[in-house]
């Protein structure tokens, strides 16, 4: 009993598109993340190498993992919002 949703959400015509895009972007990021682990496992000394502005690879890669996550998230949202708007227009027409 009482198994009602907190808020109703309607049908989402963009669902398949978003799922496919999300999966692709997930794997792109996962490969980048795995790369970090692999370097640390196989050649940890490489992490000491200075890459830019006196910062070593460990710091640059670590910050990149955080910043690229945000960039991918923004791209994903832009693409999803665009597709949602297009499809809702088509449906409305």
């Amino acid at each position: 009993m009482l198994h009602e949703p907190a808020a109703q959400s309607g049908k989402d015509p963009a669902f398949a598109y978003k799922r496919a895009l999300g999966t692709k972007m997930f794997w792109a990021y996962a490969i980048f993340y795995i790369g970090f682990i692999v370097i640390n496992l196989l050649k940890p000394v490489l992490m000491e190498a200075t890459v830019v502005a006196g910062l070593n690879l460990a710091v640059v890669y670590g910050f990149a993992l955080i910043i690229i996550a945000l960039i991918l998230a923004l791209i994903y949202n832009q693409a999803c919002s665009k597709r949602e708007a297009e499809l809702s227009k088509t449906e409305g027409a």
Binding site: E4, T23, E48, L55, I66, A73, Y76
Partner: protein, 638 residues
């Protein structure tokens, strides 16, 4: 002033939080209002509340503490915790919102209506929430001692009582706004602290802006003849030499006062280095550095740079520096940092803990390897991989995070709030590296509890910043614990008693049971918080991630992406995930240390179970689903 301000800010903060709770109490009369804030929270608010929920004591206190003692290895947690949000955004956010109602069990069970899923997913929610609660409560205890001068257990009880009040009055609505406020303040004041750090710069003799004189530790040469050590300073005589592992320590006497020194011999050159130490007598009395322990006689705070790019003393002082220069100088191979390690000795009836200095080159500080031995045994490297996997996969499986998706009106809002969360949390995690390194090089590391590194760093900039940071850290605990208790309430009232047991008769009863559960879970959390005092909170949260990633994530992912998934497969996967991850943790070396046993005798050599338990849970789901596919079809046809 020094004592009134922290207390006043703390009281103001708690009063405000309770005021918010009572204000929203009227909105929590229905189940939807109580468990999901009526699904009416704006995505921007929800995003910051996500940050407030997620940036727990582990993130703020634990990560900064671990970076302060183990350098970059602590930052690995920041990277892993943030990366986990990618899984949440791309895979979980919108489907969870679409399928779920109040709890993640709803979403998991949406296509099955299985009693097994309801039962196991609710149990999993309770287990993960309890695992996550422990470090938060430990963090609360850690904070009140320097802030209010109260014992650890009082802090734990206070947090328990306040959180129970927040949750029991207005459920998810008050929890959301407490988390929103705390998330925002945490970001603002952490940024202020880091900017202050850049203005101060680096020095080999940190004196907290002139507040605390830099403590110079002595090193003297000695001669060793036929096993007898003779210090260069003849006022000292050696009483005994003891070994702990590969390190040697000498007990010296000068004018009938004794002290412990680290004894080292390199290329025929013998050296004695001054240490700090505590000794516990058979009658329980504690002495610190030779005098009885008291409020005034405590171990001195530690941590400083020995060399900055090859320079020492006044020549090394940088003055104000930018964020890149700050990291470049610490990570320079010509820089070195003094860290402190500890050794346990038995001296007659006394149990002695000696804290001694170790010089670590900067290039080793700013790369992984000090805590996770990447050039060590294969097992140590597997442990590192295991941790990184659990952190990556754990976030999207945390019940108290997943229920935030039910507080927004639609899937698009769920997505947008996740992106706000990634921005806020990402910024904060970058700041953790600076705060941790600032503590490590600023002489503010507490030798017995590194969890206090961030607040103590703030204290080095004056009382106001310390008071704000401490009050926010306390709010951090309140926000996260509230979320955890709401998740546990939902699991008991909605999943177990309503949907599984079918004993809930109406909406009002469901809210009432939720509030009662908040009391019970809060009480259990208080007890666990007292028992686990002194354990690094980030380590404990890392384990909670491993349990969540093992018990919940395989089911969520496979339910969304593999059509042949059956309810039996999900049930078995959750069960195997819980048992295997907790079983591996209980018999791990770290837990053996906690039990007071020799860690090398632990039957499971891994500290992080994810690399075994997560694949095991996936495999279980696949195998059981394949075997029960026919069974499910027959049931559906019947």
């Amino acid at each position: 002033m020094a004592e009134i301000l922290p207390v006043a800010l703390f009281v103001l903060f708690v009063a405000f939080v309770l005021g918010v709770s009572f204000y929203f109490a009227g909105k929590a009369k229905s189940a939807s209002g109580y468990y999901a804030a009526g699904g009416s929270i704006h995505w921007g608010v929800n995003g910051i509340a996500f940050a407030g929920d997620y940036l727990s004591a582990a993130s703020f206190l634990g990560i900064c503490g671990m970076i302060a003692t183990a350098g970059y290895d602590g930052f690995l947690y920041s990277i892993g915790y943030l990366a986990g949000w990618i899984v949440a955004l791309f895979i979980v956010a919108e489907p969870m919102k679409r399928l779920g109602k109040y709890t993640f069990t709803d979403a998991l069970d949406a296509n099955f209506d299985s009693r097994g899923i309801k039962l196991l997913a609710a149990i999993s929610t309770l287990v993960v929430s309890l695992c996550y609660l422990i470090p938060q409560m430990v963090g609360a205890g850690v904070l009140v001692t320097p802030l209010l001068g109260l014992p650890h257990y009082v802090g734990v009880i206070m947090v328990g009582a306040i959180v129970i009040t927040i949750v029991a009055t207005a459920g998810m609505t008050s929890t959301t706004y407490v988390q929103f406020m705390k998330g925002g303040l945490l970001l603002i004041f952490s940024t202020v602290l880091v900017i202050a750090l850049f203005f101060r710069g680096l020095s080999t003799t940190p004196d907290q802006g002139g507040r605390v004189p830099f403590l110079e530790y002595r090193t003297m040469t000695a001669t060793e003849l036929n096993g007898t050590v003779m210090p260069e300073d003849t006022q000292y005589s050696v009483l005994e030499v003891m070994k702990s592992g590969s390190s040697s320590f000498a007990k010296l006497s000068k004018n009938s006062e004794t002290s412990w020194w680290k004894l080292s011999t390199k290329e025929g050159h013998t050296e004695l280095a001054q240490t700090q130490w505590t000794a516990m007598g058979a009658n329980g009395s504690v002495t610190i550095n030779g005098a009885p322990a008291s409020k005034k006689n405590q171990l001195a705070l530690t941590g400083n740079m020995e060399k900055i790019a090859g320079k020492t003393g006044d020549e090394a002082k940088t003055g104000s520096i930018g964020p890149f220069k700050f990291l470049a100088l610490i990570g320079d191979k010509e820089s070195s940092i003094i860290r402190w390690k500890e050794a346990k000795l038995v001296d007659g009836t006394d149990k002695v803990t000696v804290y001694y200095r170790v010089s670590t080159p900067g290039n080793k500080i700013l790369r992984p390897g000090l805590k996770f031995s990447l050039e060590g045994t294969p097992l140590e490297r597997i442990d590192f991989v295991s941790l990184m996997i659990a952190l990556f996969l754990g976030t999207a499986a945390l019940p108290h995070i997943l229920i935030r998706y039910y507080t927004v009106p639609n899937p698009a809002a769920a997505r947008k709030s996740t992106i706000v969360a990634i921005a806020a949390i990402g910024l904060f995690y970058i700041l953790t590296l600076y705060m941790g390194l600032g503590a490590m090089t600023g002489g503010v590391v507490n030798l017995t509890d590194n969890n206090m590194s961030a607040p103590l760093l703030a204290r080095s900039f004056g009382t106001f910043l310390f008071s704000m940071i401490s009050a926010i850290a306390f709010a951090t605990v309140l926000g996260t614990v509230s979320g955890l208790i709401i998740a546990a309430s939902g699991a008991v009232a909605h999943d177990l008693l309503d949907r599984y047991g079918k004993v809930i008769k109406n909406d009002k009863q469901k809210v009432m049971v939720g509030k009662l559960t908040a009391f019970v879970v809060g009480f259990i959390a208080i007890i666990l918080g007292i028992i686990f005092k002194g354990v690094n909170v980030t380590f404990l949260v890392g384990l909670a991630f491993a349990v969540a990633a093992s018990a919940n994530l395989p089911s969520i992912v496979m339910m969304l992406f593999w059509k042949r998934t059956t309810s039996q497969g999900i049930t078995a996967s959750i069960l195997v995930g819980i048992i295997s991850s907790i079983g591996l943790i209980l018999f791990s070396p770290t837990l053996f240390s906690l039990y007071g046993l020799d860690p090398s005798t632990a039957p499971i050599p891994l500290n992080n179970p994810g690399i075994v338990s997560i694949p095991l849970s996936f495999v279980t789901l696949v195998v059981v689903s394949l075997f029960t596919k026919g069974l499910s079809k027959a049931k559906a046809q019947a």
